[in-house]
């Protein structure tokens, strides 16, 4: 299995922090800028303390063949703004117990380690595989990483019905995309769709968020993410369930030495 670099996990984060960030105060101007919208949308996904959920990953190829994976994830935000994420594989059976730990350092390279039960070894994961595909899915590690709103140039492109259309262009090199276009609801600032454009500015993938719900009555989460690759015809669906917030997770549960003891 290829769980490499920057990976991961954040599957959640993606879900969660999707755009990252710190809940900065956004100007109350009647007409918010692209950056204002991005920050507000990101704020909806952070500030949870700790969260955990189960997720089913459904991989479909162009012929309709389906493979599934069962994953658990946990994330924790500490007061200093650093976040920690853990994903643990429950299936396929040969990778059961494989765990990926990410220490997301704001403004720096993340630390990531992978524990492979078959080898009983913890390996550090390189941060230079951002464009690679995560466990054979249509998500790249980059798609699943939490991203910091400050790392992008934001532009408000248009308003479409009840939605803002905003564009993100990466400030730094290393991204597999020239730009992303996000559809954000005016009410509630929730991200409902992201379209990805490759370096030649061709539309390559679309990620749609659906089945919005408030599992704890407070934090809104999309329980279904659908990523469609327009070039290959393949798709990957993530279905989240059993979301729990603030169960008292601690930083020591996200240490490298803890990886071997995870079950």
């Amino acid at each position: 299995m290829k769980i490499r670099s920057k990976l991961v996990l954040y599957s959640i984060l993606a879900a969660t922090l999707t755009l990252a960030i710190a809940a900065e105060r956004v100007s109350r101007a009647a007409s918010p800028s692209g950056a204002d919208i991005a920050r507000k949308a990101a704020a909806q996904l952070s500030g949870y303390g700790d969260q955990q959920a189960s997720l089913k990953m459904i991989l479909k190829n162009a012929h309709g063949n389906v493979a599934t994976r069962a994953i658990r994830f946990r994330t924790l935000e500490d007061k200093g703004g650093q976040s920690y994420a853990l994903i643990i594989f429950d299936s396929p059976a040969d990778v059961k117990g494989t765990a990926l730990l990410t220490h997301d350092k704001r403004g720096g390279d993340d630390d990531q380690w992978l524990y492979l039960p078959a080898l009983r070894r913890v390996r550090r994961i390189s941060s230079s595989n951002r464009t690679g595909r995560f466990v054979g899915s249509e998500f790249s590690y980059e798609d699943l990483s939490g991203y910091d709103a400050a790392d992008y140039h934001w532009k408000r492109l248009a308003d479409r019905g009840g939605h803002y259309v905003i564009e993100a262009r990466p400030k730094r090199s290393g991204s597999g995309y020239s730009r992303r276009v996000l559809l954000v609801s005016k009410k509630g600032y929730r991200i409902e769709q992201i379209t990805f454009f490759d370096r030649k500015n061709a539309r390559v993938k679309t990620l749609s968020y659906s089945r919005f719900s408030r599992p704890d009555g407070k934090h809104e989460r999309a329980l279904r993410w659908t990523m469609v690759n327009h070039e290959s015809g393949k798709s990957t669906v993530l279905e989240f369930s059993n979301f729990r917030f603030n169960q008292g997770l601690t930083v020591s549960q996200f240490s490298k030495s803890r990886l071997r003891r995870l079950r």
Binding site: R4, R124, S252, R263
Partner: protein, 393 residues
Amino acid sequence: MRSLFAITFVLCAGCGAKVDYRGSMAADGRAFFRKAKYAAQEQGSSVSLVAEPEFYLQSKSERHLLTLRPFLRLDPIDQQRSHWDIRRADYVASVGDWVFGAGAGIFSWRVLSGVGVVDIINQIDFVEDASGNQKLGQPYARIAWQPGAWSFEIMALPVFRQPTFPGEKGRLRFAALVDTDSALYETRLGRWQPSFAARVAVNAGGFDIGLGLFSGVSRQPRLIAQITDERVVPAYDLTHQASLDVSWTIGPVVLKAEGFGRLWSRDLRFYGGAGGGIEYNFFDIAGSGVNLALLGEYYYDSRPADAPLTFFKNDAFLGTRLTLPDSGGTRFIVGAVTDVRDLRTYIRGQASRRFGNHFRVIVQVNAYVGKRDGLEGGLLRDDHAMLRLAYFL
């Protein structure tokens, strides 16, 4: 122990604890390309069964973990390859940054891919794998304090276990037979001579660094030739080791080094061993999702001829790992270890792919190039291929 585990299992299933299992069972077909070197050896190709399931019980708080991982190999043709072991049977409590563990388990400090230089807690199961990568469960008690990026631990290893060696009829055996029943120990306590280990590890800024100490019974035997027959008797001295292991990840490059200094026998004679290597990763080649890693490593060991045994005194390793982004998790691994002095080379190539959610098929070829004499002679002659059909629980 096992019945105790079974009872606990049943009791705890109802109390909110997580009871689960993982691991695998497999059928191995093995075919040798040449006739056996020694008359007593079974000639043959065979099919054998191997199982290594892991049962565990974890409290709801995740503070308590009870694990049992037995190992069993059944080979109907080569009876001496049939053997079992308890790879792991222990209880581990995690209380804040503290960890307490007791039972039997496997602990590895190595960072190199081809050969582990600094590992010293566990014994090698040579019957299971001539490459030395399979280890026997070691009885232990351990206390660790792991605040943040740091880890401090001490271990007591109350009893010594001998490594396993193939029997007279087995393939992949050494030129001399190792008479484990006559093993010699330096101290009067014999295998009950306790050993101790300590380790400090830290990770920071792309570095993972560990410092290890060990004092106790040597994990590698000196082999003493007998005048009367072709057997050799293993002798286990007292050994004291200090080791360092470092890996540094910078983008697609991983630099690794590990080494030890060792005092052995009553005279406290010294030798050292070290290895270093580089791993270069080509991630997501041409946007295809294919990853390729190239590895190069070198090992050197200064031990004199009468010191405990090693096969890696002056050796180089070249390896490559290719992984495809398919849902079968297809991967290809090839590695070769060459003795720099006489260029004899051991090559292992492996391809594997998952089928469905529970099966994985693995094809492996082991080949040897160069002189086939010396202690490893019998081993080096036994080129073979293996097909494994594994069912993961």
